[in-house]
Amino acid sequence: MALNIDIAELSFSFGPMSHRLREVSLEVAEGELCCLLGPNGAGKTTLIRCLIGLLTPQSGTLRIAGHDTADLAPRQLARLVAYVPQNTTTVFPFTALDIAVMGRTPHMRITDRPSVGDRKAAQGMLDRLGIGHLARRSFAQLSGGERQLTMLARALVQEAPVLVLDEPTAALDYGNEVGILQVVSELVSDGRSVLMTTHQPNHALMWADRAVLMRDGSVVASGQADDVITAERLCHLYNVPIQLVSASMQGSQPELICMPAVRRVRRDLRDTPNHDTGLPEEGVRDEVRE
């Protein structure tokens, strides 16, 4: 399978003292979903900003769909990579349709304005993501999930083979989170390559083909998601005890799910009485014992 994202020994620093990426290598093939995991400050967003051309790496190569990005003009790059930022809003009252139409920009010249066809494509994409009825609403007044879907629609009308999402589910409720992941996985099965940063190891375990773990600007591990994500690596990555448990839905293969291996300590179930709360606990504890 053709490699759509091929990053080799990429390094980036804001100055001699602040290295954000150290020789990062990463590959995502056609029709693959790759999850990028790592604690805050690991360099995930920096990597993505290099990928979409907002930052210029000091060394290393970055190839997208076979093209070295250093040779590409911004507009050419934008035809290859579509980007969904983390959580955006606008100052001015743009409508959701205005925002979605902007995805057609890489296919226009500098003096062009979106055609009726562009507007129809954007409206069609909003319809397909189930938010067509919001097209005339002000983007800034939509909910986080609706904004994220609008940005996804914008990225999709861009018609790029590579889609990069920066924590697409960070601001969403559980239902919208699953919804976005479902949409993304359908895009992947259509042959797009998706690189997605996330703070949820379960996203990688349940949805991704590949996983890349980053820490302090370096890749700690990368490969098949199920191989890469181990309890030991996650504990090391996030500095908390983490366990993987096997769970199965009705009629399907058991899957691994990641859980923190610490629990809330329930005071009323402790053996030793807690003296520093100052609350009358005796009666409660007696009831529990009975």
């Binding site: 606008t90 902007m102 500098i110 304005r113 189930g130």
Partner: protein, 406 residues
């Protein structure tokens, strides 16, 4: 199960979602969210027949709505242009030496077709019209349009609705240039030229500082503009301090207040052409400006050459503003208030915002100038009047549109 009729088939096939839906059948949120995620997202390249049909149907509806909206929009633009023309005709007649609008229309007809002699203007009327009214009204239209147009471009590019076209020091720079020229007793055309050059130097300094210190950061650019403006203000005060209180000091003061009373027909050609060229440039790149107004990183990820667009916008707006400041002195508030008003009517898409700002700005400054030259026995300075009218107007807009951008 009747509750689930509106849920797409593919979600009800799964026992998991069926259970969830029957638990809370009355909750519309649950149903809507499942609709949201349950619809199949087939690829752009290969669509299932059923999906294509749905899309085509909805875009046809959309297309109909679109063309209807377009007709309505065009008629609104027509109305605005007609309103501006009526205002111009009324302004031509308005003033201490008043001319009736009907007489003006007759005279205009008389230029093209043979008419009774009574339709022609008298020599005195013609002098007033050609030497005083037309240049002045033309100047008001050009100055108002240019200030509002560059204000709308600045607000979009800085993604800040509180930005005025003089934020990068163009007005203060021009003010210093003009004050210096007046102090040195240069003729009127040199005063205009030095105001223009002063404005350009002010903005160039601001951009230079921002490039040198902040590597082109927008915040540093605004701060550099503040610094340059403050410096130019100090230098203006210096020229005032050294000027003769009997002769040059009043001239400097009046110039800084802004006004159109010294405008002549011959001095208007060059400014008008410059402003027109700049407006065409801004209109040509209206889509990149719109995308940048929605978000800078997003615009760059959509392949917009940020430096090119910024370069073009700064050049066009600076030339425009410096030109009109050299014609009319420092006139505040127009470039801040009018783009606001325009945006609340036509929305933030820049091609519409620019045109609406030009039209409203022209009409606004013309009306204010009419007021200034007829409200009292002495003419009120234009820059003072725009502030007096603009400030409360701005507060009203702020109260009305607060939820949109604050």
């Amino acid at each position: 199960m009747t509750e689930n009729d509106e849920v797409p088939a593919e979600t009800t096939q799964e026992p998991f979602s069926k259970k969830t839906l029957t638990v809370e059948p009355s909750s519309s949120k649950v149903v809507r969210d499942y609709k949201l995620i349950g619809r199949p997202i087939s690829s752009i390249q290969s669509q299932e027949p059923s999906t294509t049909e749905v899309v085509r149907e909805s875009t046809e509806i959309e297309g109909g709505r679109e063309s209807h909206a377009r007709i309505r929009r065009v008629s609104y633009w027509g109305l605005a242009v007609v309103a501006l023309i009526i205002l111009i005709v009324l302004s031509l007649g308005w003033g201490r030496y008043s001319l009736s609008p009907l007489g003006l229309v007759r005279a205009a007809v008389a230029v093209f077709v043979p008419t009774p002699a009574s339709w022609h203007l008298s020599a005195a009327q013609e002098t007033v019209l050609m030497q005083v009214r037309i240049p002045r009204i033309f100047a008001a239209v050009v100055v108002g349009a240019a200030l509002s147009g560059s204000g709308s471009a600045y607000q979009s590019m800085f993604r800040n609705p509180l930005v005025a076209p003089d934020i990068l020091g163009v007005s203060a720079g021009a003010g210093f240039g003009a004050s210096l020229a007046i102090l040195l007793n240069f003729p009127f055309s040199v005063i205009q030229l030095m105001a223009f050059v002063g404005g350009l130097i002010g903005v160039t300094l601001s951009i230079g500082i921002a490039q040198f210190v902040g590597r082109g950061s927008t915040v540093v650019l605004v701060l550099a503009g503040l610094v340059v403006s403050a410096l130019a203000q100090a230098l203006i005060s210096m020229t005032q301090y050294f000027s003769d209180p009997e002769t040059t000091l009043p001239r400097i003061t009046f110039w800084l207040l802004g006004g159109l009373d010294s405008v002549t027909a011959s001095s208007l050609w060059l400014p008008t052409i410059l402003v027109a060229v700049c407006v065409v440039i801004l209109y040509a790149i209206s889509w990149p400006i719109t995308v940048l107004a929605a978000g800078e990183d997003e615009a760059r990820s959509l392949g917009i050459d940020r430096r090119l667009v910024w370069g073009l916008v700064l050049t066009a707006t600076t030339l425009m503003t410096a030109t009109v400041v050299s014609v009319a002195g420092i006139i505040g508030w127009v470039g801040l208030v009018v783009p606001h008003l325009a945006r609340s009517i036509v929305g933030p898409s820049f091609h519409r915002l620019l045109l609406a700002s030009l039209l409203i700005g022209a009409g606004f400054l013309l009306a204010v100038d009419d007021l200034g030259r007829s409200a009292s026995s002495i003419e009120l300075p234009l820059g003072v009047l725009t502030a007096v009218i603009g400030a409360p107007f701005f507060v009203a807009l702020l109260a009305k549109a607060r939820h949109q951008w604050l």
